[in-house]
Point group: C3
């Protein structure tokens, strides 16, 4: 009886551990203590969306068990982190209901889209694994774009979503960037991954990455700088630059190529920075293309850039680039 109980307890503990690991999976970290910091950072910013996000993890876990997903993939969070991102995105991006943020009706779209994102994850994984490509947060991007767009042209949506409005282009060619805006962009880019844009949360997130892997931290920082630099070259609006929305994809790309998928060496480092630059160019491309339909580019540049670079590096087994082998990605 004691055994049974301790077994039950360990199941519960393992579940909580996997929930914490899920938080790290958003940024290629697999570490419980980093997870605690990420959870804290989210909680500080917005309790409602974080709680819905936790529910999203739970539902993704349940769907994973129903669909027979290998326990490993559930335990390290790669199969469930999209559920978190989707549910908390839905909670944070729906328009307030009569001014009330804690709108209980949001439970329905949050759970619905969490389940969908988990199914899309499994579907994509089953195809992409043939070319050794991870689905990353492509399911999150697809699902949230469906959430936003499906209510964009209808008359009276029950769950109105906050469409992304592009700023009017200034006529003058005198866009300048203050140093503080650029520094803020580099620092705050991580906030777009966890959806929490206050200084404390951002500091906690950076610290969480650092304690998991100083190398990953460095590559992420380099990526953030590169993305911000390219955004300046592209001449994006200073107001947008400062939110970090132009550099978070570069951050993730640089971190994943240089600090996760490939063994670090000067070549892979240079390539990671190059990839980060291209991620920002893709962001600009999608920004322009999705403009007329008022949709954000979400994390699509991350997936597209990583897909190109991982496929190109895997094609002919160049000896300068050595891929880290994972059992599960």
């Amino acid at each position: 009886w004691v055994d049974r109980q301790s077994n039950d307890l360990s199941v519960v503990l393992r579940f909580f551990e996997s929930v914490l690991r899920t938080f790290g999976a958003l940024i290629f970290v697999n570490n419980v203590w980093s997870g605690v910091l990420f959870l804290l950072a989210c909680m500080i910013h917005n309790q409602f969306s974080t709680l819905l996000g936790l529910l999203g993890i739970g539902i993704a876990y349940a769907v994973g068990i129903l669909m027979n997903v290998p326990p490993d993939r559930l335990r390290n969070g790669v199969a469930t982190f999209n559920g978190f991102m989707v549910a908390s995105f839905v909670a944070a991006n729906a328009e307030p209901f009569h001014g009330v943020v804690w709108n209980p009706w949001l439970l329905f779209p949050a759970l619905f889209f969490s389940i969908i994102s988990t199914l899309i994850k499994i579907a994509l994984h089953s195809v992409l694994q043939h070319v050794k490509l991870p689905a990353l947060n492509l399911p999150f991007s697809i699902t949230t774009l469906c959430f936003l767009a499906s209510q964009g042209s209808t008359v009276t949506p029950l769950f109105p979503a906050d469409l992304f409005s592009h700023p009017q282009l200034a006529n003058s060619s005198t866009q300048t960037y203050a140093g503080s805006e650029i520094a803020r962009a580099v620092f705050f880019s991580i906030s777009n991954i966890y959806g929490c844009d206050n200084v404390t949360s951002v500091c906690l997130a950076w610290i969480a990455v650092f304690i998991a892997s100083p190398l990953l931290f460095t590559m992420c920082l380099l990526g953030s700088c590169t993305g911000t630099g390219i955004a300046v070259v592209l001449g994006v609006a200073a107001r947008e630059l400062a939110t970090g929305m132009w550099s978070f994809n570069s951050l993730l790309v640089c971190g994943s190529v240089g600090g996760f998928f490939y063994v670090w060496n000067p070549f892979s480092c240079a390539l990671a920075i190059f990839a980060a630059a291209f991620a920002c160019v893709i962001a600009g491309t999608l920004y322009h293309v999705l403009g007329p339909v008022s949709l954000p580019y979400q994390a699509l540049p991350l997936f597209l850039t990583d897909a190109i670079f991982l496929l190109a590096l895997a094609a002919y087994k160049s000896r300068w680039f050595v891929r880290v082998e994972f059992s599960e990605i």
Copy 2:
């Protein structure tokens, strides 16, 4: 000599049989008598487009023989039903020529796009079979979008197509739905598959599905209800809802997942309804994205939803979901 003649006769009979089966293939039915009813339903509505559609089947059959498509795929109609849909769509959606519906010049685009849709079908099948995914009516969607869009921005098209105009969004948030509109939406959704929106045709089509398989009929009805319900949640215009254009993809998805691809059980039934709900969300997404270029979403939600759900269910062989094995899909 008698043998030879009876052989010739049986070839002709087999061809007619496969033509009738083709009509069922649009809605996952493989039954000659249902085919007769579907043909009747189409004939009642629009003789011209039905005749062009029959020609489309013939041409698709000929292309299939030229390209060496296995006889099985031709006989049960899966390789030819896109030809029917495309040709009859072209005939029905081109603007009348000096007010005349029976425009003989429409033969050219109808045959051209029928051939193209058959080639696209073969091309897609050769790729998608690697992941055990059917092409369904994706060739129809691609081909008809090409037909519509290629003439959308040109000055004086020879075959002007009827672009899809989105209704102006009402400013008031007082969109309400009469019970009759909702009932009509559920009932008429099948009319969008065969392109015939009169009561008699719709009744014939439902009966044809029922005599082929009461289970498929039930799942289709459930899908149509689900799609209509989600469309109400999305708040689409009542006028559009009543045409059934928001629920026919859900109908097909629910029918295919719950009544065709998977052995029916409470789990697959629940999943089919869930998939039907998502198909309507994808319809809303495409409606918003294709709005600026005045294109309809055709049957794209069917393919996208079925692709996600079939891939997800096939990924880890969950014991709750058992796929029906076909020699040919």
Copy 3:
């Protein structure tokens, strides 16, 4: 020592040979003397963009060596011709800098996007080879669309690109085409491939194709005629038709299907012409879809059409169509 030197010399010669072969790879020609004529044609039109294009070849070659691309693919130019196209496109399509065409700063985007296009080429090749599909100039299309679009919605781009503006649709339905416009369209379509629209360059290009293969020349001419004919049927603006921008994809499709990928016979010839017609329809489709975001369709119709037809023909090994086997495509 003499051996060593002659070896070095032969390496340099081989490099120059592969540069010349690269020019032919744009139009399915693999011939040094044709390459000389193509180079001449480009030089006559625009020295700056040609020089940057040559640099693009060099950088693509270097990336190819770093990524361990098989020497064969580098030598016959299939791995490097996208580098040329991208670099010269960037040089030719960026807005003049204070009226100066020879803008040295354009080196940066030209080299950046050349590298990217080479990586995309390798990535696509590694996936598409599983279905025996060549990537053709899809990398060029993707990369240049990224170059154009990424600067389309930003406030003050450092390298402003020349977006493609669609002509206002005439209200009258009296678009007529002079015979000279149609003849010019057929003749000048090849100019869109090499980006040089003066008569001498165009003549040189046609001659270069002819000396490489009279069959290819004939099929290209047929394709150009077909594309122009379909464009007239679609009713495109006469001013656009005359530039050949509506027929160059058809030219390439007809040349590739009828004169390169398949053994010539009446069946493959008819199919090539049919494919050329469809390429123009896809061009019209993309023209309409990309209109709201002011992007050109580049060579996307070539890839899409060739993909459909190569896949369809390969699916069931019809005896009417025999594919030429290449070691490298």
